[in-house]
Structure formats: structure tokens, C-alpha cells
Amino acid sequence: MIRFVVVRIFQALPVILAVITATFFLIRMAPGGPFDSEKAVMPEVKAALEAQYKLDRPILDQYFSYLADLGEGDFGPSFKYPGRSVNELIAAGMPVTAELGFYALIFAVIVGGLSGVIASLHPNTWRDHLPMTFAMIGICVPSFLLGPSLMLLFGVHLDWFPVSGWGDIPGDKVLPSITLGAAYAAYVSRLSRAGMLEVLSQDYIRTARAKGLSEWRVITQHALRGGLMPLVAFLGPAFAGLLSGSFVVETIFQVPGLGRFYVQAAFNRDYTMILGTTIFLSTLIVIFNLMSDVLAAWMNPRLRSELFNYD
């Protein structure tokens, strides 16, 4: 098991290095420097700025100096917000995005899990068809359509929740969290239904029933543990999806999180910010995938041997 973890970590390191390298050189290939604004800047000023941000040095030099800075956890200064570092912007945005993602995930697991379990207990009745129809809607209606629609209905017409902001007015966290979580609730619902249906047909469930246990105990003590196993494998990859989903949700609801900063940086051509956030988010996602792999291998020892022999 330890060997599995160590090998996986050493497999992840080159991936992160490749991401850093590819992002760095891609950004340098972009047409137009960061200081080519609409206003004409005096050549001396431009040269001074470029010297300040080390852009006058050879590119490999810049690359290694950037790597060295990264090694110390320094993402460098932001090009567009003078005097602020990329670290500060990430530190400001990340807690908000993490909170949003956390609420979305809670919503997804509770709503999706409950509806999926209920559906699996009454297969092919309306209690199965109704949640599964909603799940299909959740998968097919994208967040950028769901978000504005919820805003229109609950924010404007019914006036139950505020339509934008984060933590300013009570209740303004509700709509963004539901919007981000809806698609995941749909997947969780389908996964837990399928998982439960499979477990409920097993012999040990029949044994439990034959012992005369109440249906409630059969389900909560025996079926749920196995039936919800597929969810664990789903949550790792879901994390990456939540992060990119937050780009849209934060833009729609004007939530000051990392996703919104990233989209703004992309529009402003704030190269150090794009570079920094890309590296930060990619590393985070690689780490989460790693953890999800390790968790899956811990629960299912057969997966550990796959490491060395693909089949």
C-alpha cells in the first residue's frame, strides 16, 4: 500500500512539472505583451516595466527563475493589479470558491443520495421515474442556463433570495450553491440508484430479511454501505468539474472567488495571474485525483496491482 502511494506521487510530480512548463511557454507565445494597452506607453517606461518584471531577460532564464520562485511558493506579481501579488489574489479567492464548492457538494450528496436511494427502493414506480426524470434534466440543463433561470424565478419573481453577491445579505449563498450542485446531484442520484439496485439483489440482503430484520435496518445497516460505494470513486473527478463549474457560477452570481478571477484574468490578459492560477488549480486537481486513487485502492486491493501491470 505504501509502495502504491509512493509510486503514485512520483507519477504525479512529472505531470505537475509538465503543466508548469507547458503553461509558461504557451503564455509567452501569446501575441501582444502584457503592457501593450490602448494607451501608448513611453518606450522608457515600457523598458523599465519589463525590467521590473524580468521580461527583458532570455526566456530560459525567466523560466528557471520562475521555477525557483514557485519552489518557494511565490507566484510572482500580478500584471494588471499593480502592487498585488498572485498569491494574494489566490488567497482572497480560494476560500470563497472552496466554500461554494463545499455547499454544492453537500447539496449534491444529500439531494442526489436521498432521491437515488428512494428510487432504488421503488423501482419502476413514480417514486423511481420522478427523481430519474429530474436527474436527466439536471444533466441536460447546463449551469449557465439553470443559474439565470433560478435567478429569474426565485430572485426576481418570487423575491425569496438575493440574486448576486456572496456573504453580504443572508441567503445570497443559496442560489449559487444549488446552481453549481444541481448537475452533481443528478449524477449522484443515478449512481446511488444503480449501486443500491445491485446491492439489494445480493444474497446477504435476502439473509438479513430472512432473519426478520426490519426493512429500515436492512437498508441502513446492510445495503447503504455497499450501495453507496460508487460515490467515493465519483467524488474525486467531481472536484475538477466543480472547479471549472465555479467559473460560470461565480461569473453569473458575481461571487468574488477564484473562478471569477481566472475568467477576468483571461479577458485582461493578466499573464502572471493566468499562469499562477492555472498551475495552482492543476496542482490541486492532480492532488485530489491522487487522493481519490489512493482511497479507491485502500478500499479495493485489486486496484493496487494495476499500477505495475496495466491489465
Partner: protein, 295 residues
């Protein structure tokens, strides 16, 4: 007489091909058949849009402004007085073509990669599939945004970037298929008569994996269309003067408080298309009896 018996008698009488059986099964699946009909209709409309659109693409009437659905404009008009139905028809052309072309790119890379890995096997297979695993772990959404920022927002790049992301699952499925087929007797027979490996792969193995390829292609198109709409919504995909459903939804969201129909109608068309593709994909999977084609 049940349809099943009917089918069996027909089998004996005239012989039945795999595709004929699949079609009969698909026809009984109402949601899938509905999806197929809707998609065919949307395609036909997209194809003939320049001739059947009620107004020209660039026709606007600034004096009219945004109006709700009426006799002259079935789905209303936007703030420039442009007919929304016309905009949706032209936007659908782009959304559907991105969906299909990018899927073809993904299909081509995925089938080639997966079938070579599965057919050659051994070390090459391990290395190729390990690479797929590594790519799976990367946050591609971020990379597509990065590519669009660096190289400018053009459609060709959009096809290639989305296609380059979506091939991974196709490669995995193909590899599994080819590994199974490689051990079948008809492949041994092909080896015995001295066919070259590339001929065996292209003529004998890939055609036998066509079921999973069709099913997975149907299920890739909606995720590609979503990706395009997602990027366009953020302003990083399709650029004006072109339009797409994602872009129309983005404009609609800006003015939804005053003119909700500008959000709801384009959203409706996108959602219906995605529904149809998902139902058709699920139906095809059952009809062609493909397992594990959707992760």
C-alpha cells in the same frame, strides 16, 4: 402473436442482420425514437436555414427593439429588433456543427489511439494507455480557456481543442473492444491467410467494434456541445458576428429581467437537443447491447 415471435419468424424467413435487429429494438424505445426525430428535424432546419429563416441574419429594426412573441416574430425580437427565431436557427447551425465536427476529431484520434494500443499490446500498449491516464487527470477546461486566450478565439482552434480533449474515453473503450476481438477466430483466420496487421485492424477489427463507436459518439456530442456553449457563454468561444446557442443564452442572461424570452427560448433549444442526444445514446446502447460505454 408478439413482436418477439414475429421477429423470430422473420429471421427464419428472410434472415436478419445485426443492424436490422438493432433498429427494431430502437424503434420500440419511445424516448430514443423521439430524440432521433427531433434531431433529424433540427438538422434539416440547420441545413436549410439560409433559405427558410423568416428574416435575414443581419436584418435589424432598432425602432422595434425587444418585443415578445408575436405574429411577425414567433419567438420575439432582441434589443436590436432582430428576429429571435432567425438568430436561434443560425446559432443552431454553429452549435450543431461544432458538436459534430469536434466529435469527429475526437472519434478519429480516440479510435486510432485505442485500436493501435489494444492491437499491438505489450509495452507500447502500457505506455499509450498510461499517457491517457495522465491526460485524464489534467484540468482540460482550464487548458482550453488558456488556448483560446493565447491563440485568439477562432472556430478551427475550438474544434481542435475540444476534439483533443474528448478523445480519451473513446480510446479506452476502443482498446477494450480491440483486445477482445483480437482473440476471436476470424482474426486468427485473417492472420492465417497472411493479411498484414494494418489490413486486419482496419478491415476486420474496427468494423466489428462499430456498435460501441456509434453509441459513444452519440454520447460525446452532447458533452462537446455543452463545452462549446460553456465557452461561448464566458465569451471565450464563438465570437460575434457569428452566433451560437451558448452566446444567445449569454446575451439573454444579461437582459433576462426585462426580456426573459431572450434567455428561455435559446435555452430551450439547447436543452431539447441535449435531451434528445442523451436519450438516443441510451437507446442505442440498449439496442446495440453495448455495455460500459458510458463512464
Amino acid at each position: 402473436m408478439t413482436e418477439q415471435e414475429d421477429l423470430e419468424i422473420n429471421d427464419i424467413a428472410s434472415g436478419s442482420s445485426l443492424s436490422k435487429d438493432a433498429w427494431i429494438r430502437l424503434r420500440k424505445n419511445r424516448p430514443a425514437l423521439g430524440g432521433l426525430i427531433i434531431l433529424t428535424a433540427f438538422f434539416a432546419i440547420a441545413l436549410f436555414t439560409p433559405w427558410i429563416a423568416p428574416y435575414g441574419y443581419e436584418v435589424q429594426d432598432l425602432n422595434l427593439g425587444a418585443t415578445g412573441p408575436s405574429q411577425d416574430h414567433w419567438l420575439g425580437t432582441d434589443i436590436f429588433g432582430r428576429d429571435l427565431l432567425t438568430q436561434i436557427m443560425y446559432g443552431g447551425r454553429i452549435s450543431l456543427s461544432v458538436g459534430f465536427l469536434a466529435t469527429i476529431v475526437a472519434l478519429f484520434i480516440g479510435v486510432t489511439w485505442g485500436s493501435i494500443a489494444g492491437f499491438v499490446g505489450g509495452r507500447i500498449d502500457s505506455v499509450m494507455m498510461r499517457l491517457v491516464d495522465i491526460l485524464y487527470a489534467l484540468p482540460f477546461m482550464i487548458f482550453i480557456i488558456l488556448l483560446m486566450v493565447v491563440f485568439g478565439r477562432n472556430m478551427l482552434l475550438l474544434f481542435l481543442a475540444i476534439g483533443a480533449v474528448e478523445w480519451l474515453t473513446m480510446a479506452r473503450i476502443m482498446r477494450g473492444q480491440v483486445q477482445n476481438l483480437r482473440q476471436q477466430e476470424f482474426v486468427e483466420a485473417a492472420v492465417a491467410i497472411g493479411l498484414s496487421r494494418s489490413v486486419i485492424l482496419v478491415r476486420h477489427i474496427i468494423p466489428n467494434a462499430i456498435g460501441p463507436i456509434i453509441v459513444y459518439t452519440t454520447l460525446t456530442i452532447p458533452s462537446v456541445m455543452l463545452l462549446e456553449a460553456f465557452l461561448s457563454f464566458l465569451g471565450l468561444g464563438i465570437q460575434p458576428p457569428e452566433t451560437s446557442w451558448g452566446l444567445l443564452i449569454a446575451y439573454g442572461a444579461e437582459t433576462m429581467e426585462e426580456y426573459p424570452w431572450l434567455l428561455l427560448f435559446p435555452g430551450f433549444f439547447l436543452a431539447v437537443t441535449l435531451f434528445s442526444l442523451n436519450f438516443l445514446g441510451d437507446g442505442l446502447r440498449d439496442a446495440l447491447d453495448v455495455r460500459g460505454a458510458k463512464d
